[in-house]
Amino acid sequence: MKFDWRFNVFGKPWIWSYLGAFLVWLAAILFTHGYGAGGMLTAALALAVFSVIAGVAQMFVITLGPGNVDLSLPANIGLASAVAMKMMNGSDSLIAVGFLAALASGVCIGIFNYLLIWLLRIPPIISTLSASFIIQSAGISYGRGLQIKPPPGYAEFTSAQIAGIPFLAIGTAIFTIGIGVILHRTIYGRSVLAIGQNTRAAWLAGVSVERVRLGTYVLSGALGGICGSLLAGYFRGSSLEIGDEYLLASIAVVVIGGTSVSGGKANVPGLWGGALFLVLLLTMLNTFGVSAGVRFLVTGLVIIGVIVAAGGPRSVR
């Protein structure tokens, strides 16, 4: 057996995303001579939370195997933000009601997505995209494009910090540990991985493929609902466009984090690395003060670079 140093030192593909995040942060604070280093990390953690939640949703769907992707997440998040804020109606006593309503809206979208895929036999990439148009239209007629404010207690909760660490980031970290356990230690999680590796083999082994797929699209929808209601709290208002950036972000953090695009292989810690990397990259470019064009260009190139680097260890298998 040939010795490969990468296999030892960087044996886990998600190391690369953390390394990338660290390097762009370093570049940013070198530029400011160390000024604002802690503030940047606080801001990055606060913003990364939402990409991580959307990323978990996308990770489960993508892990189901080739062709599975949830493109309705942005519309789902936008609608959920409006549902949550309308239900809370600015009153602290209705926070739970609004949160559960947003969750329910996400679950319904998940079921709807699955029905399109299963009943009508439409490929997920098309069914979730067309579902997102329907959701968007529902959102426009429901929310009328208004930015409804969250109740003060809820707004406070979503941006609370403990020693520079956002409260939401701690909660989401615990949540992702739970997700890791579900993925690797439960029948459901293992079924998702098995289906992604070989659907037919999983079916022959007795995995109820369709039930797991339904569960996964519903999980993705529910997480979109949670993400939407948290975003509306953190950004002090619902907006149908609030989820737009999570189309690319949810897929990018999954891929950068070392989850296989062809399914069957998921990586939970990598989601955090990927999300922090993307936010810190934005921080770095904003700190440099580059123009919008350069920013898009560099973001694209760097994502390609990291994916190539993260793909390295996998190819030596």
Binding site: M40, A43, G145, F235, R236, T283
Partner: protein
């Protein structure tokens, strides 16, 4: 080629002869369509609402026969181009348009104007010369932001700029105005500029990422829709909010009112009024009415609020919405006159 230009030159002539025939040209049998490419934010919703109020009344009063609104769900150019072609076939006399692109729709617009349809664009304007454009003086808006700051901060200081959607004519014009303002007031220095896309969430995120690296900021110059997000980002980073120019959104003005009551916070607010859609409607109606003297580029003022009058306007803005101003036919005639004097 020659024949086409000849017949095109003849058409208005024939039209005006016909108009003289009926003494006052009449638009009561004419139908005006509104082609809109997006409805998903508060500004667009206010735009549609203002348009609805004014045109419903115009139809009831018998000024025009119909004023229908057609909104496409996405911001895509091909969808709107197809929509315009449908409107041509449906035989509308005029199309009021908020366009998804300044130049990509020109082909479809040209087809419409060649078919004798009056096209009036606003907000998202079209560059096709045969169409009309109702534009707001965005450059002056940008410059006035710095002028106001200079009045309150004679010593100057560091400014943070929040840009709008990259590549749009609006972003370029406001930015140019701000730059001109800063060059006239060299006591100010723009230390960084980020992209807020006129959106609260995007602005808050952009400011939050850049703020840790910035020195003390005395003012934020922006483009509207981003002021509240900027204020949240400053609060989130534990920094005192500088003077943030607002953009007529209800949440921005409500925040301003709260701060004013607390510590006498002073700023200025301005933006393009969504009701400019109704001005575009009246311009189309006036052209159909036979007016030949209306310039193709109409410059109209933006809607601004000061420390003294914003609180009076606040109750009339829907929660989560944006301040609007609807034009009457008389207002529109005055706006046209103002442009003809130039």
């Amino acid at each position: 080629m020659k024949r086409i230009t000849y017949s095109r030159a003849l058409l208005p002539l024939l039209a005006s002869i016909a108009l003289i025939g009926v003494a006052q040209a009449d638009t009561k049998n004419m139908r005006i369509a509104f082609s809109n490419n997006y409805a998903g934010n508060s500004w667009r919703q206010a735009m549609l609402k203002s348009y609805d109020i004014v045109t419903k009344k115009a139809v009831t009063d018998g000024v025009v026969a119909a004023a229908d609104v057609f909104t496409t769900a996405d911001k895509e150019v091909p969808t709107q181009a197809a929509q315009i072609q449908n409107l041509i076939l449906q035989g509308y006399n005029a199309i009021v348009i908020n366009a998804s692109s300044p130049d990509a729709l020109n082909g479809a617009i040209k087809q419409a104007t060649d078919a004798g349809i009056v096209v009036v664009s606003f907000d998202g304007i079209v560059t096709e010369p045969s169409a009309w454009r109702v534009v707001v003086d965005f450059k002056d808006y940008g410059e006035q932001e710095v002028v106001h700051l200079a009045g309150w901060l004679p010593k100057g200081g560091n400014l943070l700029e929040i840009r709008g959607l990259a590549g749009t004519s609006i972003d370029d014009a406001i930015h140019a105005g701000i730059q001109q303002g800063v060059s006239k007031h060299p006591e100010f220095k723009i230390v960084n500029s980020v992209e807020g896309d006129w959106d609260q969430t995007t602005a808050q995120k952009a400011v939050a990422t850049v703020l840790p690296s910035l020195p003390e900021i005395v003012g934020v110059v922006d483009q509207g829709g981003d002021g509240y997000g900027a204020a949240q980002a400053f609060a989130g980073a534990g920094r005192k909010e500088p003077i943030i120019i607002m953009g007529n959104r209800q949440d921005e003005l409500a925040w301003w009112k709260e701060q004013k009551a607390k510590n006498g916070y002073t700023t200025w607010s301005a933006s393009i009024a969504p009701g400019v859609s109704t001005l575009a409607f009246w311009v189309a109606q006036q052209i159909l009415d036979g007016r030949k003297d209306i310039p193709h580029d109409l410059l109209v003022p933006y809607l601004a609020f000061t420390q003294d009058d914003f609180e009076a306007a606040l109750p009339s803005i829907p929660v989560g919405g944006v301040a609007s101003h609807e034009y009457t036919q008389e207002d529109a005639k005055k706006a046209i006159e103002a442009n003809m004097k130039k």
